[in-house]
């Protein structure tokens, strides 16, 4: 698999796995409006994943299509970040995970809409409009919870501390990212890190929350080395198309 195919799959897998995670909230949100909000974000992400898988399938050729890429690959073939496969936990956990990812995703797609790769630029030009709403939403929730009651402040601070170890992987550069950067297709993720830090610090400040200090980060997702969580996600997500191949409704 060449670097562009790898890169397209990384983008697609992040969107699909987080979309799948968020859709677990469907019918379980604390109030109707927030249930609808998370499932709307899930829908946007799965829509973006579809576009990206279609593009990846076109590059890979042969039998590959959007469905085979989503439903017939095993955990070690997925290239998503470890962050997005982490369990939903409570509301604060979900929104911290979302805040970390949305802020990253906003700057990532803001670069991608001017990518040298025309297809990625077209997909990103569409997606950035949706991601902007996601990033606003999750940042607002961090502020609401951090600067809320003692209880919400305490809980969301703990979510921040717990999820922090997964944040660093987003900015990890490797040969794939290096090649994408040199070709003007993907961003320099160290630059994205600077943008992310500025925004995250600003929001945490408003939210009266403390930025975690740890500087050790677990990585592996980009290479297909995942936490056990991904296996459970795939078991649920892929059950139907694997048990009943070609089924349609």
């Amino acid at each position: 698999m060449n670097a562009l195919q790898e890169y397209t799959l990384r983008l697609a897998d992040n969107a699909l796995i987080l979309g799948q995670r968020l859709s677990e909230w469907c019918g379980h949100g604390p109030i109707l409006e927030q249930d609808i909000a998370l499932t709307n974000i899930a829908l946007d992400q799965i829509g973006q994943a579809r576009n990206l898988y279609q593009y990846a399938a076109k590059q890979i050729g042969g039998e590959a299509n959007e469905d085979s890429l989503a439903f017939l690959r095993d955990a070690h073939e997925f290239r998503n970040l470890l962050l997005v496969e982490q369990p939903n936990g409570h509301w604060g956990d979900t929104l911290v995970r979302q805040f970390f990812f949305d802020t990253f995703n906003f700057f990532q797609y803001d670069f991608l809409r001017n990518s040298q790769d025309q297809e990625l630029a077209a997909i990103a030009g569409k997606a950035i409009k949706e991601i902007t709403y996601h990033a606003q939403y999750s940042a607002e929730w961090i502020i609401r919870m951090g600067d809320g009651t003692d209880e919400s402040h305490k809980k969301v601070q703990r979510s921040l501390n717990d999820l922090w170890m997964w944040a660093g992987e987003m900015f990890e550069m490797d040969p794939v990212h290096q090649e994408m950067k040199e070709k003007g297709i993907g961003p320099d993720y160290h630059v994205i890190l600077d943008q992310w830090n500025a925004k995250v610090n600003e929001i945490l400040d408003i939210a009266t929350l403390k930025r975690p200090e740890g500087d050790w980060f677990q990585t592996g997702g980009k290479k297909g080395i995942h936490t056990e969580n991904l296996g459970f996600i795939l078991a649920e997500m892929q059950f139907l198309p694997r048990a009943y191949p070609e089924s349609k409704w």
Partner: protein, 186 residues
């Protein structure tokens, strides 16, 4: 005289006999746009696909027609239904050789909804997108001033940026106290 889209046109030939003209022979770009104007968005039945601005281009070479559309939101489940509806509307008018193509770029924006579409939205009870909203790609852009579609008051408040469909936000009116949907800007 009202005319049925699916019936052949009745005309008279040189001998004065009544003949039926195959509607396929009457394919013109104008005619295709007319038909598309009747294809409604399945989730917002007061808007046609042309009012929405999602039909980007119509091409025809003889009988072969290509309709180019662009999605509103990437995950919008209505897009598949819209494609089906376009195909069946054109088929009813006797156009069988139709291909619907989807393009992502340039990305759809609410600015492409026509004036008529904006009016229809408001009459239907959905506040239309406020044009000229500050750069939509800026985090924490100033919230637009949205007018209540029921009483016209601008004293309204956002309940949630996400609503019953991907394209809508939930609002409430502080004057008449009614909740309403706002077609949000993208």
């Amino acid at each position: 005289m009202p005319k049925c889209n699916s019936c052949p046109e009745r005309t008279q030939n040189q001998n004065g006999d009544t003949v039926f003209q195959d509607p396929k022979e009457m394919i013109s770009e104008e005619r295709i746009w007319e038909i598309l104007e009747e294809v409604k968005d399945p989730e917002i039945p007061v808007l046609s696909v042309t009012d929405m601005g999602i039909v980007r281009k119509v091409d025809h070479e003889g009988d072969h027609i290509t309709v180019t559309i662009t999605p509103t939101y990437t995950g919008c489940p209505a897009m598949d239904a819209i494609e089906e509806n376009i195909l069946s509307a054109l088929k009813e008018a006797g156009m069988d050789d139709v291909h619907v193509e989807t393009v992502l770029s340039p990305a759809w924006t609410t600015d492409w909804i026509t004036e008529k579409g904006l009016r229809n939205l408001e009459e239907y009870g959905i506040a239309p997108p406020v044009k000229g909203t500050a750069d939509k790609r800026t985090l924490f852009a100033k919230a637009p001033e949205v007018r209540c579609p029921h009483c016209g008051s601008k004293n309204t408040q956002m309940v949630s940026a996400f609503g019953s469909t991907a394209c809508k936000a939930q609002y409430k009116c502080n004057e008449c106290l009614e909740p309403f949907d706002y077609f949000k800007c993208i």
